[in-house]
């Protein structure tokens, strides 16, 4: 198991010191409220959801870049314990990170050779010929060696993605976290980047945690899907099962955006997090909500092998699963 997350809670402090003086004031925003997931070696897990659902926070928490209030994150069997950034160094070595906006995450004053070998310096890797490693990494992502001297402003969107893939792969990670790897790219170039990621996975065997709001992309490249809403995973399972027969009304609504079937158009927008809604947190927008949903929080139930949903009234029943 490359990645194992149990009951992960991430809280951000809000309100400042003045709020602390007011009785009963909400002091924290719970951005992740008990997330659990697992990811096997060589597999791809797509995490989908709207903005504000906690996808990016989840990605950041895996490498200790978010304030973890409770829960466990294990990468390749290792768990960071103790205070501060120090213990996370060992985990970060094993994880490559592709940030959302590649141009913003590349230092404009560094050339590509320096950028892609920066991880060696950060992790104090001895006995490395940086120049040779840089050439190897560029070759891996299909960029010619003349790009070694280029600076970020000389890169197109697709080339910048390739550089961020190269940098993520520098330390031969077990896990690569790709946060919206194709946002803002044209369709033909999006295909290029995804094909590259797929080829590299076949060659190097790492796992991907793919964070995206693009459901059509997730459908094609992910083995499993986790759907997030307000900082919880509301449905998770094998990709084809979820796309064929979504069990959560929210998933159905998201998928309805494209493709066939009955279309559910959700009213309104996700509610605020402070305070969180009562009962099932989706009930305010759910087209099939019943009185029970307003008062009682649902517990996770299994509707098919590996297919779990957080809903009182799932759209598919356990006995139906597997027959379709």
């Amino acid at each position: 198991m490359v990645l194992e997350i149990e009951d992960l809670v991430v809280r951000y402090r809000t309100g400042g010191w003045a709020g602390a003086l007011r009785p009963k004031s909400q002091r924290h925003v719970e951005v992740l409220a008990g997330v659990g997931l697992t990811l096997d070696a060589g597999r791809t897990l797509g995490v989908v959801g709207e903005s504000g659902s906690g996808k990016t926070t989840l990605a950041r928490a895996v490498v200790g870049l978010a304030p973890i209030a409770a829960g466990v994150v294990r990468v390749d069997g290792m768990r960071a314990s103790g205070w501060g950034d120090g213990p996370w160094r060992f985990i970060r070595r094993k994880v490559g990170f592709m940030f959302q906006d590649p141009l913003a995450s590349l230092d404009p004053r560094m050339d590509v050779a320096t950028l892609v070998t920066e991880p060696f310096v950060i992790h104090r890797t001895q006995g490395i010929d940086r120049r040779r490693e840089a050439a190897r990494l560029l070759d891996l992502v299909g960029l010619p060696a003349r790009f070694l001297e280029r600076h970020p402003y000389q890169l197109s969107g697709g080339q910048a993605r390739r550089v961020s893939v190269a940098r993520a792969l520098a330390l031969k990670p077990k896990l690569v976290i790709a946060d919206e790897p194709t946002a803002g790219l044209d369709l033909s170039i999006q295909g290029d980047v995804l094909n590259l990621m797929t080829d590299l996975q076949a060659e190097l065997g790492m796992s991907y945690l793919l964070i995206t709001h693009n459901l059509t992309v997730a459908r094609h490249v992910a083995d499993e899907i986790a759907v997030m809403y307000l900082g919880r995973i509301v449905e998770t399972g094998p990709t084809d099962a979820i796309y064929r027969a979504p069990a959560h009304p929210y998933t159905r609504a998201l998928l309805g955006a494209r493709g066939g079937g009955e279309r559910i158009v959700l009213e309104g927008e996700p509610p605020g997090l402070s305070p969180r809604p009562q009962g099932c947190e989706f009930h305010g927008r759910c087209p099939i909500a019943k009185p029970r949903c307003q008062s009682e929080a649902p517990v996770e139930r299994t509707v098919a092998p590996r297919h779990r949903v957080l809903c009182h009234f799932p759209l598919i029943q356990p006995d139906m699963a597997g027959t379709a």
């Binding site: 369709l187 033909s188 170039i189 295909g191 059509t216 459908r219 990709t239 955006a257 009213e267 927008e269």
Partner: protein
């Protein structure tokens, strides 16, 4: 009947520090009243330049040749004052980013009233009433309260609704929507698409939807115009173009849309090569270098506009040598 918008042989060149850049080359297109046209293409295809030209919003370094007639009057022959009057009073726009299109320091209500300054014969109270009514029509609950709010208090979806309301308040004959859903989430996107579909009834004229999303075009548009490297390569009824694309570029573009690939795949079709540099003059077809069907002629001679024979007025065409029998 005069078409609402008649574009003939329109070429636009930007003067830049590194020499002239040809953004549009010999674009001809007609848009009739009541039509919803999808303008699709990848970045650098010139679709935004064409949209700006329709709104007479081209920057000062643009050199224009050809004709763009709005209701029969050549837009580029008008004096600047007449052109300015047209914007917000005939042509309206919805932009991609609802976060920057509103003035952050002014309340929504004041902005919606201000947008109606071309409308004569109605007072402030009537403009306010119209603004509130329009907010309600675009599906905003409690419009009176929204009128008193500032843009930062609104979510992206609500802001885009406000901008659609603003555009509709001017009662445009031509509504240009430039990537109106790109900055929005999937569920909000669906709400805005439903609203745009409903807006058809509210616009007494035509809607041009600029997008790179073929799914959106298939959903909303009667006709589609496909752009590549500053040229219009194919135009026709949406259903026809999606089902039987004539131009190799249109075919390639449709093939690499993951939403249109029904069987799960890890390997996406791509278009090898790159969009040609608009700063370098070229003979022949813009797509020749990336086209799998290109022959010698394609590299040397500009392709002809071949009517694809759905409309007999030549409004439906593809620009490709291979179509000449």
């Amino acid at each position: 009947m005069t078409p609402l918008l008649d574009i003939a042989d329109l070429s636009i060149t930007y003067a830049t520090a590194s020499g002239p850049v040809r953004a549009l080359k010999d674009v001809s297109l007609r848009i009739e009243k009541g039509e919803v046209l999808g303008l699709v293409g990848e970045s650098g295809s010139g679709k935004s330049t064409l949209a700006s030209a329709m709104m007479a919003l081209l920057p000062a370094n643009a050199t224009i040749s050809g004709r763009l007639a709005f209701n029969g009057a050549d837009l580029f022959a008008l004096d600047p004052e007449a052109r300015r009057r047209l914007r917000g009073n005939g042509v309206a726009a919805i932009f991609q980013d609802p976060f920057t299109a509103l003035n952050p320091a002014t309340r929504i209500g004041a902005q919606l009233v201000e947008f109606q300054h071309h409308k004569t014969g109605i007072g402030h109270a009537e403009r306010t009433r119209r603004a509130v009514a329009m907010l309600a029509r675009v599906g905003i609950s409690d419009p009176e309260r929204r009128m008193r709010q500032y843009p930062f208090e609104l979510s992206g979806g609500i802001r885009q609704r406000v901008l659609i309301a603003a555009a509709l308040l001017t009662e445009p004959q031509l509504l240009v929507a430039d990537e109106p859903t790109t900055a929005l989430d999937a569920t909000t996107e669906m709400q805005i698409i439903a609203l745009l579909r409903a807006s058809r009834a509210l616009v007494d004229g035509a809607i041009v939807l600029v997008t790179h999303d073929m799914g959106l075009v298939a959903d909303l548009c009667d006709r589609v115009a496909v752009m590549y490297a500053g040229e219009l390569v194919e135009a026709g009824p949406t259903a026809e173009v999606v089902a039987h694309p004539r131009h190799p570029y249109t075919r390639a573009l449709l093939a690499c849309d993951p939403a249109l690939i029904t069987v799960q795949t890890r390997h996406f079709p791509t278009i090898p090569g790159q969009v040609p540099d608009p700063g370098i003059p070229r003979d022949g077809c813009a797509f020749a270098a990336r086209c799998t069907e290109a022959s010698g002629l394609c590299h040397t001679t500009p392709p002809p506009m071949v009517s694809i024979g759905i409309g007999d007025d030549g409004g439906d065409f593809a620009r490709c040598h291979r179509l000449v029998a």
